[in-house]
């Protein structure tokens, strides 16, 4: 049995969000929604995190940052794109500097819709991500792949 769904730690990165979605992500941590009751912690360190929550669209400035954070996370890991911007570019899609959603750079597992995404929707997205996390763990066990970065 995997304990991953019982203790998902997430790292939150604000790509070029308008801050609307960020506020909603942080709202999940407040006493009203309190995601810690599911064991979710907002960890600032990608090396400790299981879930990568990205808000906002991708541009030339933050492309490498997103990639870097993703690469630093330990397997198994999942990516949740929160909000219209992170999913597709949203209202900024046509901007000259915006390249679109996060899936341009890294594989995204769960898309949360909304502009801004509601806290309930974000929690729902994270819960769905837990299923993916579990699945990835089972797959990696089946492969028996010894993963180590030395």
């Amino acid at each position: 049995m995997s304990y991953l769904p019982k203790s998902p730690w997430l790292v939150h990165y604000d790509a070029s969000s308008c801050n609307g979605c960020d506020i909603e992500v942080l709202a999940c941590l407040t006493p009203l929604y309190d995601v810690e009751r599911f064991g979710v912690l907002n960890i600032g360190n990608p090396k400790h995190a299981d879930i990568f929550v990205v808000t906002g669209s991708v541009n030339e400035q933050n492309r490498s940052v997103i990639q870097n954070i993703y690469n630093q996370m330990a397997e198994p890991k999942v990516v949740v794109a929160v909000g219209a911007c992170a999913s597709s570019g949203g209202i900024f899609r046509e901007c000259y500097n915006v390249q679109g959603g996060v899936d341009n750079v890294i594989p995204v597992d769960v898309y949360v819709s909304g502009c801004a995404a509601r806290p309930e929707a974000i929690i729902d997205g994270v819960v769905q991500a837990l299923g993916v996390l579990e699945q990835k763990y089972e797959e990696s066990k089946k492969k028996g792949a010894e993963t180590s970065h030395v």
Partner: protein, 289 residues
């Protein structure tokens, strides 16, 4: 105490301490959440966290770091084993200090600027609490005439009556040892975004789990030290333990983190005023009465 009873105590410590420490951490998180008006995670959450970390990939920056983290865990277990075997208190505390140093070396060995920052702050913490710890033990020696935990535990009369200021000073530095605000300058259980993650920034997977487990072992041993102050009256001792820990949680929740200067100087002030005054009074009573 019969001859072989100490082996039983050591085995009990090694087997039970992680469970007790983990449960304390779980209760701690629950109470903290309630103080903040939240529902809080399940009681067993610390165990879920550690078991999850065991299942994660372990990203290793440099092979030595595994060794240092493991050494840190082993020496904390050794320190606790000496303590619960009724051995030499001084030796036990030195083993504990060695364990803290191994953790600092582990952080240094990763060459990460964030881990460096955490390691330096951890060294400052060690400098801050060590004088008070040593003074506490010296005080216990002057009061009971022995460094052996068995003898100190068997002291008739409440030790705290002879070392009241010492007890206050020890509880003060206990806040550093169990990594609570306002003294959690090297690595915090809350404020996960500050200085990335201090000391543990570069550790993931199993190593992070070991650090967490060693923290549980350490907490149990430190609570054992608090117990010693009240050893002649076990019921009172357990009540004091609960009250002390609750106080630490309360302090944790009503304080923000201090600057390192304030941590260092306030703890030294406490150590010198409370610790030395207590020893002076004890010495005075011993030789002039």
């Amino acid at each position: 105490m019969s001859d072989y009873l100490w082996i039983l105590f050591v085995v009990l410590y090694i087997v039970l301490a992680p469970f007790i420490g983990g449960m304390i951490a779980g209760i701690d998180r629950k109470i903290t959440a309630r103080m903040q008006g939240r529902y809080g995670p399940p009681l067993l959450q610390p165990f879920y966290d550690v078991l999850k970390l065991m299942q994660k990939e372990n990203i290793v920056v440099n092979k030595h770091q595994k060794l240092y983290v493991l050494c840190s865990l082993i020496f904390i277990i050794v320190a606790g084993a000496i303590f619960f075997a009724g051995g030499d208190l001084l030796l036990s505390i030195f083993a504990l200090a060695l364990a803290s140093i191994f953790l600092v070396i582990a952080a240094y060995s990763t060459y990460s600027p964030y881990a460096y920052l955490g390691a330096e702050r951890e060294l400052i913490q060690i400098m801050a609490y060590e004088p008070m710890v040593i003074l506490t033990i010296v005080g216990m020696y002057i009061a009971t005439g022995s460094f052996s935990v068995t003898d100190i535990g068997a002291y008739e009369g409440l030790l705290v009556l002879k070392l009241p200021a010492m007890f206050v000073g020890f509880v003060y530095i206990l806040t550093i040892k169990i990594r609570k605000s306002p003294f959690d300058i090297s690595m915090s259980h809350h404020a996960h975004q500050e200085i990335v993650r201090g000391l543990t920034t570069e550790f993931s997977g199993k190593e992070l789990a070991y650090i967490e487990i060693s923290h549980w072992y350490e907490n149990v041993m430190l609570l054992g030290l608090v117990y010693l102050f009240f050893a002649s009256n076990p019921i009172l001792a357990v009540l004091v333990l609960v009250a002390t820990y609750f106080l630490e949680i309360l302090i944790d929740n009503v304080n923000s983190r201090l600057k390192w200067q304030s941590v260092l100087f306030s703890t030294w002030l406490v150590a010198f005023v409370l610790g030395i005054a207590n020893i002076a009074v004890l010495g005075f009573l011993k030789y002039f009465l």
